[in-house]
Amino acid sequence: MNAIKEAIKTVSDLWSLMVGLRVTGKYFLEPQRTVRYPWKAVSNIGTFKGHLELVGGGQKDPFKPRCISCGMCALACPSHCITVVKKKAPKPTPEEEKALAEAKANGEKTKDKAPKDPEKFVYDYSLCSLCGTCIENCPAGALSFTGNVYMAGYSRNDFLFDLVVKLRDSQAPAPAEPAAVPAETSEA
């Protein structure tokens, strides 16, 4: 009896083969999801993240970083791709030195003259996972992602930048950045 029941069940389970064929048939006729990449890009390419950049606007200069060299980003980065190098205080001129000594003698509090913006902001894009933790942890809002998602290079060093230099250079007529969206024309 059991054997017969099992046999009947097996035969009725064959129906699932038909169901499978229907599913693949449906998928076969539905439009494709693949975007033919080099010729077409996805429509929301603007929301893709590129490498980090420093936000300008420090000391009212759009090409000076807003960064205060606190190092929070370097601390927070899980991949250790950021190294912030603080600026050293400039060597005081003799007059300044004198004034400083006078102030000290008068018992006044002396101000640290070292500027806050970083000397160097070394960023290794080849390690970055674009997680955004650095941006979240920056107290000065000095970091953001670029939209440059098409970066390519011939060596590892092409992905190692000093973001301060990059920001400063962006005031010069920008060296031709790769277009954000590839041209529609094909080369093949």
Partner: protein, 327 residues
Amino acid sequence: MPAEFIRILIGLVAVAISVGLIGLVMVWVERKVAGHIQRRPGPYEVGPSGLLQPLADALKLVGKQLFMPDKADPILFWLAPVLSFLPVLLLFLPLPLGDGLYALDVNLGLLLILAFSGLAVLSLLLGGWASNNKYGLLGAARAVAQSVAYEIPLLLSVLAVSFVAGSLNLAEVVKGQGTWPWNWNIMTQPLAFLIYMVSALGETNRAPFDLPEAESELTAGFHTEYSGMGFGLFFLAEYANMVVVCAVATALFLGGWNGPVLPGPVWFVLKVSLLMLLMVFFRWTYPRVRFDQLLNINWKWLMPLAVLNLLATSFFVKLAQFTEVRW
């Protein structure tokens, strides 16, 4: 006699060319269907919608270095792909494309096809055995167990049809069927058709019964060690075998060249293509069965059903003869 000889020669050349073409087209169809089922475009870069991609692949295969593993048996190793491909050419000879349109008129055409398609498993065995590779050997062992098992229900289901038709000549069987689908043998022998199709999948090592090559388990099974055209020949033979089983199914069950309006050969090619497409769809729909399942399906289901079907068929055939005589 010379006329017959020339006919066979022309047939062989035509078959060789069409096997090459079929291989190219089928690779394209398979990849396109696979792509579309997975909602990607498949090949589209080379030629219009990727039509020339298989050609490029074939050229690449031809240009590749032929390589033989260390300690492999050189004679058997190179014999295997040739042996897998050559009999395939023979299989095409008795296939009736249209009324009178066949290369070789033998009244045992069906037997010829079944006998020589049995050689395929030998080549798989040799290839897997000779390549001195454990995956190859496992693939070969699977191929033998599978092909030997699936040949039996295949034969039995074919036999049922030829009982009804009273002939082993494919052209005769086709002539016994009418123009419309309800005049075809599939109407009187639906079970035999099902058994035939399942066993044919097993015989040609097509998914879901592609255990001898099972790429996710055995890298490539019996042809793991073959490069270049060695692999290419196995590949071509597989597709050619597919065409043969589909053509035989068409002739036996689907009325062969019979069909309304369109000329016979067109119908034949159309039906064969449809069956091939169905096989491709099977491949991308069903997961590969396990080996014990594979043998269970065969020995526990296909075999008994085929035997029962054959017995019932012969009973009714005899009954029909009886009543005819009495009439």
